[in-house]
């Protein structure tokens, strides 16, 4: 079973994403804090981590930096998906430096995004 971690501090977005991903047959856990997410990533293996950039405590990029201690850069590329409302050129560049996909918020089609995430985990 695919294991996904959703890191997002906006409660409704977190709940909906988690529910929809679970409906697709995955085991999805969620966290609204970056530091908690780092702990979870260190303790468990996830197939995919959907991570918001602007979290309340730290940024999504900080989470990736911490995750690098456990994962190779290939794993980072293949596991992290960044979602964010702030998709400026600088953000795109930084995400590209990790090799990560960026999905800008708000999503125009939630179902498409869910399918995209599920495809990504294969």
């Amino acid at each position: 079973m695919t294991k996904i971690l959703v890191v997002e501090d906006e409660p409704l977005i977190q709940k909906t994403l988690t529910l929809l991903l679970q409906r697709k047959g995955s085991q999805t856990k969620s966290s609204s804090s970056g530091t908690e997410a780092i702990k979870m990533i260190a303790e468990e293996d996830f197939d995919c981590i959907v991570c918001d950039l602007m979290l309340k405590d730290i940024t999504g990029f900080d989470v990736i930096e911490e995750a690098k201690k456990k994962m190779t850069s290939d794993e980072i590329k293949n596991k992290f998906i960044i979602i964010t409302a702030y998709s400026s050129a600088q953000v795109q560049e930084k995400a590209a430096s990790y090799g990560c996909q960026v999905i800008p918020k708000p999503f125009h089609d939630i179902n498409k995004v869910i399918n995209q995430i599920m495809e990504f985990t294969k």
């Binding site: 906006e10 409660p11 409704l12 977005i13 709940k15 909906t16 994403l17 529910l19 929809l20 602007m54 409302a85 702030y86 918020k105 708000p106 999503f107 939630i110």
Partner: protein
């Protein structure tokens, strides 16, 4: 036999014995030594030298020390010229690579980056001046290796170009200053001088009264004006608008998130429980309200996005979005818009500053509403007529209030003049200023039948 270094040092010798120099095959050196009028010309000269005839492209990267961007210009043998801007991090990486390399020759695998425009094998040389770092790169465009002869010729020839480069960079620095100057002039016609470290670089007018604003470490703007009042107004206005733009941007991002959350949840509810009428109906309404909220946020941010540049905008959007903005100030007063003379879709589009147009229009409508409210007009109305006049668009705001009293009409645009109990009395004078900057006209007066009118005419091209 003179070495190339001797030739370079003895420039006077070269020029006085030109015929000797040309016959001896030093024509290339002479050519490079002569001042080039542009970087494009210099790069072409390098390619046209005999020893470098197998090289296809030449590129110059220029970085002004202390800035975050670098310029790149390149030419090729087909006469194509390209100019681009890059982030300085690309340049720094390349510069380090070149400085470290012994023979300054590279192939594509070493030097591949988005800043180097061509394929093949390359020769590079860096120049370090007090204010700039430069990188000259020439390439063969095939994958044949670079010979020692190539390297030697390149080194010899490039000994002759630093002076030319210095002058060319100096020129572009002046242009840089002019660009900064012109950008600010467009924003505020009262800014008349640009000075660096206290020394004036560009001045257009004698100063009468002045205030200095620091832009960055090197540049400061001297604001020159005829009266103390207009300095204060423009600074206050500029600050307010800048602040507003930033606030709106932050607000937009912060509000977007919860609205998006509401959207997602409502959609989920709607698709899961659409057999339950109440839930189905209300979740649809929630979706619509969330969508409307997001649109309002997007539109307002767009309206205050571009402060100084002319952009193509649809006058319908500007008018309608601004009317939405006035809602809180014009609560009970109906506003009717009528569009005249717009025969084609393209007539609605103009190249101007939508932020300024919005501000002017907003001010006039709110003034009309306040006049109507204070005079307790029965059945107050604001009628907005927008007309297409080929070279311009006119926006006329009519009200059915008591009109403008003749006693105050001459003071209408005087800064700080107001008949209201609250407010700064700056609205109309700012309007006048903005209209001037748009290259338009502002007419006002009393209607023949009832009430006052304010009419802004804006040229279709700023």
């Amino acid at each position: 036999m003179h070495t190339s270094t001797d030739l370079y040092k003895k420039q006077r010798f070269l020029f006085s014995d030109k015929r000797f120099a040309e016959n001896a095959g030093y024509k290339d050196y002479l050519n490079l030594l002569k001042q080039s009028s542009s970087i494009e010309e210099l790069l072409n000269k390098i390619l046209s030298t005999k020893p470098l005839s197998s090289f296809y492209t030449a590129q110059l990267l220029v970085h002004s020390k202390g800035t975050t961007q670098c310029q790149s210009m390149n030419v090729d043998r087909n006469g194509n010229f390209n100019s681009k801007s890059f982030d300085v991090s690309h340049f720094t990486k390349l510069l380090t690579l070149v400085k470290k390399s012994k023979n300054k020759k590279f192939d594509q695998t070493q030097i591949k980056s988005e800043t180097i425009q061509f394929l093949g094998t390359f020769l590079a040389k860096n120049f370090s001046f007090s204010s700039h770092d430069l990188l000259l790169v020439i390439s063969r465009n095939d994958f044949l290796p670079i010979s020692d002869d190539d390297i030697n010729s390149f080194n010899r020839l490039t000994l002759f170009i630093p002076n030319s480069l210095r002058t060319l960079i100096g020129m572009s620095k002046k242009q840089q200053n002019e660009n900064i100057f012109n950008r600010f002039i467009n924003l505020h016609p009262e800014f008349k001088a640009l000075s660096k470290e206290g020394k004036s670089i560009i001045t257009t007018k004698k100063k009468i009264d002045s205030k200095t604003i620091h832009i960055d470490n090197q540049h400061s703007l001297e604001l020159i004006s005829l009266s103390q009042d207009s300095i204060t107004i423009d600074l206050k206005h500029m600050e307010r608008v800048l602040l507003l733009g930033e606030l709106l941007n932050t607000l937009r991002h912060e509000l977007s998130n919860p609205i998006f959350g509401i959207n997602l949840a409502a959609e989920l509810m709607y698709t899961t429980h659409n057999e339950h009428e109440l839930i189905s109906d209300f979740s649809q309404q929630i979706l619509r309200a969330a969508k409307r909220s997001q649109n309002i946020l997007d539109n307002f941010s767009k309206l205050y996005a571009n402060q100084s540049e002319a952009t193509t905008c649809d006058i319908r959007n500007v008018i309608n979005e601004t009317i939405t903005l006035t809602k809180s100030e014009t609560k009970m007063i109906p506003k009717k818009t009528s569009w005249n003379n717009f025969e084609n879709e393209e007539n609605y589009f103009l190249k101007s500053n939508p932020t300024w147009i919005s501000q002017i229009f907003f001010n006039i409508v709110v003034n009309a509403a306040q006049a109507l409210t204070e005079s307790e007009t029965v059945s107050p109305e604001i009628n907005i007529d927008i007309k297409y006049l080929k070279d311009s668009i006119s926006i006329q705001v009519n009200d059915n209030g008591p009109g403008i009293c003749t006693a105050i009409i001459s003071n209408l645009f005087t800064p700080f003049f107001t008949t209201k109990n609250k407010g700064t009395g700056l609205g109309l004078s700012i309007c006048k200023n903005l209209v001037k900057r748009l290259g338009g006209k502002l007419d006002y007066g009393n209607n023949k039948d009832v009430g006052a009118f304010f009419c802004v005419t804006i040229p279709v091209k700023l």
